[in-house]
Symmetry: C2
């Protein structure tokens, strides 16, 4: 399903095409080559002091027990994600490794790595959907996430089903239009609240 952003100003193809589907094809695995390219795209994100605070836990059918635990962390509204052949959990390191000080950019920089991965997935014909709806403390306990790391988003990765094979209640959610606030609500010139022009 194509769901190109209805952009008000021209944007580059891979950014326009990226979206977050729910109708994943459980029968099509993600190759190791593609997974590595997706992680590699995240690797080259910029970060404060080049700390690279992002970490990714990867779950797939090579370890069904870990994958089942990842499923168990999902909120009920995200049950569709159980069809994705790969789940990942993004995690942000709260402190700088070189001096132990608090890194207030940890979440910010992890978000940059994750969307780089989403765009790389799009370029490969794969789709990545980040979710806030999961239990971060359950994930911490299940997967041994250390104290100075914050679980950020659960991530579904895989191919989309053909539209005709997507279960109706999932299709309905996937067909909802993409909406965003206007640029004027997110950008101000010179002073908070000022117009762009």
């Amino acid at each position: 399903m194509e769901k190109r952003a209805p952009a008000d100003h021209p944007i580059t193809d891979v950014i326009a095409r990226r979206w977050s589907p729910r109708g994943y094809d459980a029968s099509r695995p993600v190759s190791s080559e593609n997974l590595m390219s997706i992680l590699e795209a995240g690797r080259w994100a910029p970060s404060s002091s080049n700390e690279q605070p992002w970490r990714y836990l990867v779950f797939d059918r090579s370890d069904p027990e870990a994958l089942a635990k990842a499923h168990d962390c999902l909120s009920s509204g995200n049950a569709w994600a159980k069809a994705a052949p790969v789940l990942m959990l993004s995690v942000a390191k709260r402190t700088y490794t070189r001096n132990g000080k608090s890194n207030r950019h940890a979440g910010h920089d992890t978000g940059a790595a994750s969307i780089s991965m989403a765009l790389q997935a799009t370029a490969l014909g794969l789709w990545l959907h980040q979710m806030g709806g999961y239990d971060p403390e359950k994930a911490r306990a299940y997967f041994g996430i250390p104290d100075d790391f914050d679980p950020m988003a659960m991530i579904a990765l895989g191919y989309m089903l053909p539209e005709t094979e997507i279960p109706p209640e999932i299709l309905l959610r996937d067909q909802a239009p993409r909406v965003r606030n206007p640029v004027e609500a997110m950008a101000f010139r010179g002073q908070w609240g000022a117009g762009l022009e």
Copy 2:
């Protein structure tokens, strides 16, 4: 100056080419069309509950007083950024608009919007460099940033100087190799610290 990521696995062109230069051309402005396309790319980033917590303050020569204040927020190590024709400040809204609750993804999602803008800039032949080295509380006071918003990164945007025209001490920093931790240090399979294979 080309500074393509020395990637271990293939990544899409715009992600490989994006980097954060310092040698900006003070004489080449950014057109309004390009600025709008760059903001538009950020606009389509995904966010928790589609909150779109990102805001951008934009400074350029159309308002020299505001631009001078933005310059005054930069740390001395980022004085090179004064040559950029556009500065922006990314800001994250700490609470969800619909219910006032804390949004722990605000920084994360703002980071996603900002790197989308960096990739759009790259696609347009422009370069965007995000900086943590500035005074966020000075910026809050200068620009009227409300209490429930966190200043995230100062951002330089513009064209690069030809290599022969970059001041030597800036060129030296721009010529430093791009380095990242290996993928194995950022991704684990199934359990914290486990190998990917």
